[in-house]
């Protein structure tokens, strides 16, 4: 029915198909690389997210456009260091000294936005005592803090007054990196060393440390106010958006078509009844109803999808398709089918509906983005799915956090660009299909 050679004549359709294909690949990639439960966990903002992700970091690609060369997140963990970086010295009978030496290169032109130590200690009665030393590339050593970790200790030098008195800056993040030879506050480039010297007072006792220097950039999409990686929502939002759009478009189109064909074929009171129901449905305020359902019943995207479908089953499509079927009904082949005994149901499904499919498929394809936008609209109104990562949720978060005023334009831009691409891709293909299926319309 439709040949590649025909599509090839529409370069716009090729572009559209490429976009749709890209989204399909993206959806598959998301589903395969991030299992559903993991996606939910990462979007919920679990422990790993809070510990390792920066807050409101920009996407890595912003570095391509400015000279600042923003640092990504750097994590140093004593559990992952080579043996040589750790040494034990016995000081007395029951005191042992553990020294962890972690070093890293810093080649970035701006400061680390946030710096935190996570120190985990194992002990029975006496906690270890850990001193932290920060050695800058020019050899200066800063005492970066003393910690007596009780189990899991989170230590932020910036919040430690004693440390802050030792550095000439408003924050440890600046103070630890500051190049004293320059007037402008600029980080020193080179190799830094972080030494943790711990005294262990029990035989079985030990401690491990992790230093997280949260990046100013993170991943391909950045992070949000809850430290969640936005790319998770963008990736997983793709299959969700596709499923939402395609299911809604397919079910609504099929239902509209069947109802319209039934209406036309039976005529009489059936037709009148269907037309009245459609009229009433068309004046029903859809959005307020959705808000009502979302508020009182459930904000699950599948409930909302069901509602969107329910509200559109007797939608405008019924009127459009009815006017088409009124013409189709009069075609001689329908009369012929009746003459050889075809029943009403067969005529509706085998003779009326297939005839209008060429008209309907382009419209169906073109309508997919509208439903994707519907999801986003509902999310903006606070009816986004509470657990699923969706594009609409990203936009809603960005809006409520004043992303645009705070310079987090990418937060709003990324989902918006994806949605625009969905719109462009499906429209281009829909228009081309319309020209291929319905060549007569070309002249109009």
């Amino acid at each position: 029915m439709i040949r590649w050679s025909e599509i090839r004549q529409y370069p716009s359709a090729i572009v559209g198909l490429a976009i749709i294909f890209g989204f399909i690949l993206l959806a598959l990639y998301a589903v395969i690389t991030i299992p559903y439960s993991e996606a939910l966990e990462r979007w919920r903002g679990g422990e790993a997210v809070v510990e390792n992700n920066p807050r409101n970091a920009r996407p890595t690609w912003v570095n391509w456009f400015n000279q600042e060369n923003l640092p990504p997140t750097l994590i140093l963990d004593s559990r992952e260091l080579p043996e040589t970086a750790i040494s034990y010295t016995t000081i007395s009978d029951d005191i042992e000294e553990k020294v962890i030496t972690m070093s890293f290169d810093y080649e970035y032109a701006s400061f680390v936005p946030e710096l935190t130590f996570f120190i985990e200690a194992d002990f029975i009665e006496k906690q270890p005592f850990v001193e932290i030393f920060w050695v800058t590339p020019n050899g200066e050593e800063i005492r970066a803090g003393e910690v007596t970790p009780g189990g899991q200790e989170i230590y932020r030098p910036t919040q430690d007054d004693r440390v802050m008195r030792r550095v000439e800056a408003n924050s440890a993040e600046v103070g630890f990196f500051l190049d004293p030879s320059l007037a402008e506050p600029t980080p020193q480039k080179g190799t830094y060393q972080v030494r943790l010297v711990g005294l262990i007072f029990e035989e079985e006792s030990d401690f491990e440390a992790k230093l997280v220097m949260y990046g100013a950039v993170h991943g391909i999409a950045g992070t949000d106010h809850l430290r969640r990686d936005i790319s998770v929502a963008l990736l997983w939002g793709t299959p969700i958006a596709m499923a939402f759009g395609l299911v809604a478009a397919l079910v609504i189109t099929a239902a509209n078509m069947i109802i319209a064909a039934t209406s036309v074929w039976y005529g009489g009171w059936v037709d009148s009844a269907i037309q009245r129901v459609t009229d009433v449905n068309l004046i029903l305020p859809g959005l307020p109803l959705l808000i009502l359902i979302g508020t009182l019943y459930s904000r699950s995207i599948w409930v909302i999808l069901g509602m969107v479908i329910a509200l559109n089953i007797f939608g405008g499509g019924v009127k459009t398709y009815r006017s088409i079927f009124l013409q189709t009904r009069e075609l001689p082949y329908i009369e012929a089918a009746q003459a050889y005994g075809a029943g009403s149901r067969r005529i509706i499904f085998r003779y009326l509906i297939p005839r209008v499919i060429p008209l309907v498929i382009p419209a169906l394809v073109t309508s997919v983005p509208a439903f994707v936008f519907t999801e986003a609209t509902l999310a903006l109104l606070g009816l986004g799915d509470p657990v699923l990562p969706t594009w609409g949720k990203v936009i809603e978060n960005a809006r409520s956090q004043g992303a645009l005023f705070n310079g987090y334009y990418y937060w709003m831009l990324e989902p918006a660009v994806l949605m625009m691409l969905v719109g462009v891709g499906f429209s281009l293909v829909g228009f081309a299909l319309d020209r291929i299926f319905n060549p007569k319309l070309r002249e109009i």
Partner: protein
């Protein structure tokens, strides 16, 4: 076998889709009989109700009044499985072959549909029926044509598919509504000969509708002429062509330019004026406003009944089968009575 009695088919006209605004009297009191294996032609200009009459015989319309009797079954009352059963005994060939075939179905699907619908559950049996009928209507090579879509065939081939589909359920009666009027002149004769062959081979009763008298001789024994929803003349084909009696029939023969119409030269003028309104038909004889022989005070007042015609050459009754609904016939009888008196 088929007996149509005082059949009326009226379409209701609605004002603004609601209020009643009268009826289109597409068929208004038609009676005729058709025996098994007989072919009958029906002629008349377009809009005179030929298709309405046929659709009612096929029970695509319900009769408004009157009865259609097919082998003792009252066709007007049929529904459900009985109706399907009846329809399987009546084949239908339409005017526009391309329109009569679903454009999205292959020839295979098109021919299979009637069989599936009528309970042929065995696929092999269906296939053999399809192949047999295709050979019969000369749609060959079969394997090449089956997977094609209608638009890939020529008009003549499309009409052969339509004929094959009408024949595939082995009907007793075939209704052909202007089967060749939309075909190229070059294939018309072939298609008509095919229909004639099928009719003879299967002992089919056929009603062949046309508005063109020049094609009727190819097959029918009898012919009736319709005007404004009524039969104005009924005759064996030879008798009608030799002795057209109703002024309207004469005008039709004139227009068709049939070389066999002996009287063709006598009546040069095609009746002026339009076919009458079927909503408010003229009183009396419906043809009187266009008839140059109309008798004032008679033709425009009383509706003529069909009566046997007087044979122009020997004044004998033409086997009593040639009837015309025209007051002139009565005048002629009276004149003859006067002469013999």
């Amino acid at each position: 076998m088929l007996k149509v009695d005082d059949l009326h088919v009226w379409y209701e006209l609605k004002r603004f889709g609601l209020g009643h605004a009268g009826y289109v009297r597409a068929v208004d009191g038609v009676s005729f009989e058709l025996n098994a294996g007989e072919a009958m032609a029906c002629v008349g200009e377009s809009g005179c109700g030929k298709s309405s009459l046929m659709k009612t015989i096929l029970r695509l319309n319900k009769p408004t009044k009157g009865t259609i009797d097919f082998k003792g079954i009252n066709v007007g009352e049929l529904d459900g499985l009985d109706l399907r059963d009846y329809r399987s005994k009546v084949g239908f060939i339409q005017q526009d072959p391309f329109g009569a075939l679903a454009p999205f179905m292959t020839i295979q699907q098109i021919l299979e549909e009637p069989l599936i619908i009528n309970g042929f559950t065995n696929a092999a049996e269906r296939q053999s029926k399809i192949e047999t009928i295709m050979e019969e209507v000369k749609l060959t090579p079969v394997e090449e044509i089956l997977p094609k879509f209608p638009h890939m065939l020529s008009g003549g081939q499309q009409q052969r598919v339509v004929i094959a589909r009408a024949m595939i359920l082995e009907p007793d009666l075939l209704v052909a509504d202007e089967p060749v009027s939309m075909l190229d002149a070059s294939v018309r004769v072939e298609i008509l000969k095919l229909l004639r062959n099928l009719q003879e081979k299967h002992n089919l009763a056929v009603i062949y509708i046309t508005h063109d008298l020049s094609t009727v001789r190819y097959f029918s024994e009898y012919i009736f002429v319709m005007y404004a929803g009524q039969i104005v003349e009924f005759a064996p084909i030879k008798s009608l062509l030799e002795n057209p009696t109703h002024p309207y029939t004469q005008a039709l023969l004139e227009a068709s330019g049939d070389p066999d119409a002996k009287n063709a030269l006598e009546y040069k003028e095609i009746p002026p004026g339009e076919p009458p309104s079927l909503v408010n038909p003229p009183s009396g004889c419906r043809f009187h406003p266009r008839c140059k022989f109309a008798i004032k005070g008679k033709c425009d007042v009383d509706m003529p009944k069909p009566m046997p015609v007087v044979d122009g050459s020997n004044m004998a009754i033409t086997g009593n089968k040639h009837v015309a609904a025209c007051w002139l016939v009565e005048e002629e009888w009276k004149e003859r009575a006067g002469l013999t008196n």
